[in-house]
Amino acid sequence: MPFLSPIFLSLTTLASVPIIIHLLNRRRFIRIDWAPMKYLKLTIKTNRQRLRIEQLILLAIRTLAVLLLMIAIARPVLSANSLNWLTGHGRTSRIIVIDDSLSMAYQTDHRSAFEGAHEVLTEIAGKIGSQDSVTALLTSDMQRPIVREVHLQDTTKLLGEFNRLSVTDVRSDWPATFKAIDGYLAAATFPTKEVTIITDFRKNGWGDAVKEIADRWAVAGVKLRIVDVGSKATANVSLAGFDLEDPLVLPGDAAKLRAAIRNDTPAAITGAQCVLTIGDQSRSILLPDLPPGQVTEVPLTVSAQKPGQFPLSLTLPADQLSNDNVRWLTMNVRSAIDVQLVDGLPSSEPFEGATDFLNLAFSIGAQPWRIDKRSDQDWSIAPLQAADVMVLADVASLSPQRIAAVERMVSDGMGLMIFAGEQVDPVLYNQRLYRNGQGLLPVPLDKAIDSTATGLVVEQLDQSALSGLTKLVPAALARIKPRRFMGVDLPAHAENVRVLARWNDAPGHPAVIEKRFGKGRVIFWTVTANKEWSDWPIDPTYVLAVRSTATSIARADRQQDNLTVGQPIQFVMDEGQSATQATVTLPGHDTPDLATIDKPAQGPPIIRATQSSRAGAYTLNWKDSAGLARQHLFCVSPDSSESDLTPLPESELLGMLDHLHPDIVHYRPGQSVLAAGGRELWRSIAWTVFGLLMVETVMAVWVGRER
């Protein structure tokens, strides 16, 4: 019988203690010269034999109780099936799945669960018969097994391959893993199939989606064994988020970042420092107090003086699970923002057009704004150019085709500002741009209203496009007095619509309204962009308002540069461009690996890299059609859900696997996984010992009675 703590088996020698005490007691006697020996012998003779048997039984009970107690401490395991686990059932197709997700790096007593997995795999591999076929897989890359359908004549190859591996940063996804295993089982050689999963038994990643596959395996007679190599500890500090608040960063701008730190330890953390790295430069940042069990958000700012891609990383102090203490971020510093102004009232006179003041507002200073100003007539017939922000100022007529094209562009991330004006026909706008809430216009228009408003009131909203105005003194906003504005019918409940600012009049008519449309945002100004309805365009706050709004809603980068571990790295090239010699430089690697270039029949070419199983900065390199070397940076961070180390309750797992009835082995360092494959008996033995002690007590009283 195997034992989980065999070192305590040496204590079974204590079972001799009752015998020794018995023998010592026999040596502790008084000697008496006795006269009535006749009567003594007469009475002893009648019950001496019975007394001796009773005492021997009592001694046996005491010895057995001590022996069983010591055996219970050594934690025996009833492993009726463990012995034939790897040797029985004839020829078997064995699939061994090793969890190499991020949480497997969690260290207990300076040993990670992944190291435990290595020990388990070593033991299992040594026990598998050469007649069986073995497939070994990692959960991070189920499509590329370590070995597949091999007969382990020599385990060196398998273990050698495994030794080169280390834990990844991917998240667990057991339904996907089961699905992949299912594929291997379908292709397995032998009818007897057994699956062994070595994991840290964390709840994250499991779901009822495995049930359907498990039921199928149960019907097919697949044996499943799950070896738990994790610990019950859950204390962890992780970086749950590290994001840019500004969608677009210009050179010299102070880009706002936000870090979210989750403290899943029982105590508050004070005085900790993190390290913020920009490219090759690092700086330490003192963190605020991190209360236990909470997520603390930390605002940060960075700036870059020149355009380009910059890898940012934030690193927390190391703990038991250091892999989730660092996150990466690609910061794209744009050289300029493309603004397309569509003027509905073009004029050759200065500041008579609808967009002249806007043009001025974007052009003054050294800010890198690229302005493309067109009349609505020119714009309506010319091919639609991609821009970061499009402004429609007092545009009277919009064709449905043009509106559809604009919708696509906004949906794809472009920012759109719509200014009211005398040429704006509320009926037409509502029909084509509002479309019962499905169009670009945030709210249906009513009619132009003569205003009595005495200023502008900016709403305090999160990530408001007008957040720049909230820093101004109220007197500055009180100067903004529209003579007229476009009335709107604000729906009671409109999804993705919010009022950013209101006129300071009795009804509080909306002044600026925002609508999220796909990836982009639409801002509707109820006043004109020129001085026709107000003198705001000549007020300094106007420049701040339109620039702040344009920066906020400008299109972010088309490419998905910031990824979560496991997401594919791919770069979609512009239409008409081609690429050759694509490679990818992985985090911590100097030599690039080859990347693939997909050229679909329709659409632009796509450069793809291997799956991103580790967090860090990835760089795609290629040569464009002109033969120039190009590169693009991707930053990959861990999935924050993997930082949730809540253990998976065994009952919950059994509920998911239902009819499969898996063997669950809780492996602990230093023990044999085969030994741990059965049911622990210490509770049963403890009850037996308790029963024996009860019997011993009763029998001791009974045997020791006077007779």
Binding site: I32, D33, A35, M37, L40, T43, T46, R705
Partner: protein, 311 residues
């Protein structure tokens, strides 16, 4: 003065103080006997005819009544009421079993004290008292004499005797019965841890010879109660046998066996007209003797004697 300095230690004043008053009352009866006011029930040569009994071989032919023979053609012995003092013989068991005693006195010491006290009482009553010390045979024998010197001899013998050897009262009784001339009082002091069948048989003979028998059964409380709590290696005090036992394991049975033994001895003795008194070495000897003599005084106050015998 010399006698006072050599006063034996077996004569405990506390005991004597308790039995002497009773002894004085008894003495009055005996004094009457001496003065002829009270006749002794013993039959022998005297001036006053008592009755006849059939001749038995060994009888003195001088006591044969020829006249009765002539009348009845049978041989009869004439019996006369004899004026004689009490002739007491104390038989003291000095076998090794009498040496037991964990606390206080051993059984022998207790028995010797009892014997000395009885001897003192007899001498005080001017009765002749003798002593026989025995184990598996008779070791000392002092013929009954009613003198102070006899008391000194008795006490010397008691003090110099050490319990040893096994006990076998049968042959001793047989021998004693031959040594005691005439009828008298035979006091047996023993733990009676011996062959009781043989003892009863010889006791019957003593009774048959007309002796009044008084048995003091001396036991230690340990021997009755078996009070030991720890394991005990019991060694036969008169032999080599050893038994290792846990007393608690058979205490009740042992006590029952001892109780049965004592009850049986008591019933056999009393049923046969033998005075029986159980004395435990833990008992206050003076109080026990006083109680016994008082009872005996009441029983013998009418001069009645049992005519039965031990069977």
């Amino acid at each position: 003065m010399a006698e006072e300095t050599k006063k034996p230690s077996l004569l405990d004043p506390a005991i004597l103080a308790k039995i002497v008053p009773l002894g004085l009352r008894a003495q009055r009866v005996m004094e009457g006997a001496i003065s002829g006011l009270h006749r002794s029930p013993l039959h022998g040569v005297s001036v006053e005819f008592a009755d006849y009994r059939e001749y038995a071989p060994g009888d003195d032919l001088k006591r044969l009544d020829w006249r009765a023979y002539a009348r009845s053609d049978r041989f009869y012995i004439k019996r006369y009421e004899e004026d004689n003092n009490l002739r007491g013989t104390i038989l003291l068991d000095a076998s090794q079993s009498m040496g037991y005693g964990r606390r206080g006195m051993t059984k022998y010491q207790y028995a010797a004290t009892l014997a000395a006290s009885l001897a003192m009482l007899c001498v005080k009553q001017r009765d002749a008292v003798g002593l026989a010390i025995f184990d598996d045979a008779e070791r000392h024998f002092l013929r009954p004499v009613a003198t102070q010197l006899q008391l000194r001899k008795i006490i010397d013998v008691l003090e110099t005797t050490k319990p040893q050897r096994t006990s076998d009262l049968g042959p001793v009784l047989h021998k004693i019965s031959e040594q005691i001339k005439g009828r008298g009082l035979v006091v047996i002091i023993s733990d009676l841890l011996l062959d009781l069948d043989v003892f009863y048989r010889h006791l019957g003979r003593l009774q048959h010879d007309g002796h009044e028998i008084l048995i003091f059964h001396i036991l230690d409380s340990d021997e009755i109660e078996l009070p030991f709590e720890s394991s005990v290696l019991f060694k036969d005090i008169e032999g080599a046998e050893e038994i290792f036992a846990e007393p608690w394991a058979f205490r009740r049975l042992y006590k029952e066996a001892m109780e049965k033994f004592i009850t049986e001895v008591s019933q056999r003795c009393r049923g046969g007209g033998v005075d029986y008194l159980l004395l435990k070495t833990s008992d206050d000897l003076g109080y026990a003797m006083s109680h016994y003599l008082h009872g005996r005084q009441q029983r013998t106050g009418g001069g009645q004697r049992s005519s039965g015998g031990v069977t």
